[in-house]
């Protein structure tokens, strides 16, 4: 195990989180088309960063940095990592960041069609989770020998966590589509908004259940309770930010321009959504790592008794 590798994977995950914030700032400022040029901005590598070009070109610069960091991470993985599947995950991250860059260029060139912009925002979240997973898999806590725990009677946690992660991902797609459906000076489409609100209820139910079950069943297992607690706290913050984002966004068409309260709250909602997804992925991975499925637990128990 290489501590350096884990730290570098953490750095890439943090940089990706910063990139998601930079991308959200572009959307909230309606800056995606501040230049109709790509990959250069108005034919320049370093244009004058004024007006909305600051956000759009800034986003491109952060994205380039993340791309370079991802390449370095893959090189690092192939040099230090012995597990082939982890190296392959690194390659997947590299393909993800390349595809993400191409989608970013495509959406600018096509004047931000909804499908491409929403796909760009969704792939950003998937890429972020891939980098977070790499940080998890290279960590000391993941590779330490841990005794397996039995799934307790009741709804299996492995399934609930998986369902929570899948539902959050769907909710992120709906959220991305909602954000890119209407610029700050247009009202949000009601049908998508209601779908997103319904999605929030579903996420709350699944992630809330998963976290509370972990806290109740495995209260002494910090390996599981830590991500469960963080996920629960982030979920509450995210729900509050969602309400706040709706209030400021509903008022924004009357504003002369995107104002800081609307930009700040909507960007925080996107960023917190990414953290909720990432934490749920961490929780799910850890649950799969240490929990023995109920049927295996029964067999193990029977074998132990015979022995």
């Amino acid at each position: 195990m290489s501590k350096g590798l884990h730290r570098f994977a953490l750095l890439v995950a943090c940089a990706t989180f910063f990139l998601i914030i930079a991308g959200a700032l572009v959307t909230s400022h309606d800056a995606g088309l501040a230049t109709n040029d790509w990959p250069l901005s108005n034919g320049q590598v370093f244009p004058k960063m004024v007006g909305n070009l600051f956000w759009e070109h800034g986003h491109r610069m952060v994205a380039t940095t993340v791309g370079l960091l991802t390449i370095a991470l893959v090189v690092f993985l192939f040099a230090k990592e012995k597990r082939r599947w982890v190296r392959r995950l690194g390659l997947l991250a590299l393909f993800g960041v390349i595809a993400q860059g191409l989608l970013g260029g495509l959406t600018v060139k096509l004047n931000l069609p909804l499908a491409v912009s929403a796909a760009h925002a969704t792939l950003a979240q998937l890429f972020f989770c891939t980098t977070v997973s790499l940080a998890v898999f290279t960590s000391q806590s993941w590779m330490a020998n841990r005794p397996l725990l039995d799934e307790r009677p009741g709804p299996p946690l492995r399934y609930i966590c998986s369902a929570a992660a899948a539902t959050i991902f769907l909710q992120l797609i709906i959220g991305a589509t909602l954000r890119h459906s209407a610029t700050w000076d247009k009202p949000l489409p009601t049908d998508l908004l209601l779908t997103h609100i319904a999605g929030a209820f579903a996420v709350t139910l699944l992630l809330g259940s998963a976290s509370l079950l972990v806290l109740r069943r495995y209260r002494d297992e910090a390996f599981l309770t830590r991500p469960a607690l963080v996920a629960l706290a982030l979920l509450l913050v995210q729900l509050s930010l969602g309400v706040a984002a709706y209030i400021v966004r509903a008022a924004s068409p009357n504003d002369p321009q995107p104002l800081n309260p609307m930009v700040g709250v909507t960007v925080a909602h996107v960023a917190c959504g990414a953290l909720v997804f990432a934490t749920t992925i961490v929780l799910t991975l850890r649950v799969f790592k240490v929990l023995r499925p109920a049927e295996q637990a029964l067999k193990f128990s029977a074998a132990t008794q015979r022995g």
């Binding site: 088309l33 004058k48 247009k186 321009q257």
Partner: protein
């Protein structure tokens, strides 16, 4: 090269080719119309010398919403040139409304020919939309289908002109300071096409695109004149921005031969008496046009 590597390179090549294709498709040749809107034929409109005018005033009843100050700190050049920049959605002087777009929406000439059955030639003179002091001048303007719009940048900073129509293709171009004017035209009628600058998001303008020349924009004192209207009975519409799609009011007007007809509109509180309000922007009537593209 292994089979796997070949696959990877193949996927990358396809992705890059798609990007290049999209890039090529998004470029529109300068000074041309963007799409192949169907060219229709009809009865060519020929002035007979008995044309009249439609004049009127756009009033605003009640207290208008106050103009909002714009924060230009994102681009210092804007603040230097326009230190008191404010929104222009309600330009009201002594109860009269400026920048209302007035046009003939429907109707027929005295011989019974619908205005939509005539064809009109787009004038060769251009209409100018200037970016000056980080706002558009004028704020509302009209143009005929296929008439060239001249877009100039009088600011010492870069702008980005972005038409976001519904009936015409989206058009987005950057225009650095000192760059030559851009030209653009619309192949289909549309009332009205919003214009924005993605560089300075407070910049907004509207272009009314019609296949006939019977339109006007109210001056700051609320007055307007539509000239060269053949005698007949028409539905005249006045559009004023605000909300998601603006507000439109219509009224029936009869233009006598070589005479003048009056069409006064009112917006604001309790203004429905002068013209019937419309909840959403209506598409402009489709009049066959002679201009080809």
């Amino acid at each position: 090269m292994s089979m796997k590597q070949t696959k990877v390179w193949l996927i990358l090549t396809i992705a890059l080719s798609l990007l290049g294709l999209a890039s090529a498709c998004s470029k529109t040749p300068e000074g041309t119309s963007d799409n192949g809107a169907p060219t229709t034929t009809g009865k060519a409109f020929t002035p007979k010398g008995d044309e009249g005018t439609i004049t009127g005033t756009i009033a605003y009843n009640g207290t208008p919403p106050a103009a909002k100050k714009i924060d230009t700190s994102a681009d210092p050049v804007c603040g230097q040139k326009s230190p008191n920049l404010a929104t222009e959605d309600n330009v009201i002087t002594n109860g009269k409304l400026g920048y209302a777009f007035v046009y003939i929406k429907d109707g027929a000439t005295t011989d019974g020919t619908k205005v939509g059955d005539y064809t009109f030639t787009a004038p060769s003179d251009t209409v100018t939309l200037d970016q000056n002091g980080c706002h558009y001048r004028p704020h509302v303007l009209g143009a005929m289908v296929n008439q060239k719009l001249n877009i100039t940048n009088s600011d010492p900073t870069q702008h980005n002109i972005h038409f976001t129509p519904k009936n015409n293709p989206d058009w987005n171009q950057s225009q650095p300071n000192g760059a030559p004017p851009l030209t653009h035209s619309f192949a289909r009628s549309e009332v009205l096409v919003p214009v924005k600058c993605n560089q300075h998001p407070w910049m907004k303008a509207y272009v009314g695109v019609l296949k006939h020349p019977f339109f006007a924009v109210s001056a700051e004192d609320g007055t307007f004149t539509i000239k060269g209207v053949p005698p007949g009975t028409y539905t005249v519409a006045a559009w004023h921005e605000g909300g998601a799609t603006g507000t439109e009011k219509t009224m029936s007007v009869t233009v006598p031969a070589s005479g003048s007809a009056k069409a006064d509109f009112a917006f604001g509180e309790g203004a429905s008496a002068a013209g019937a309000p419309s909840l959403e922007m209506m598409p402009a009537i489709e009049v066959p046009v002679v201009g080809h593209h």
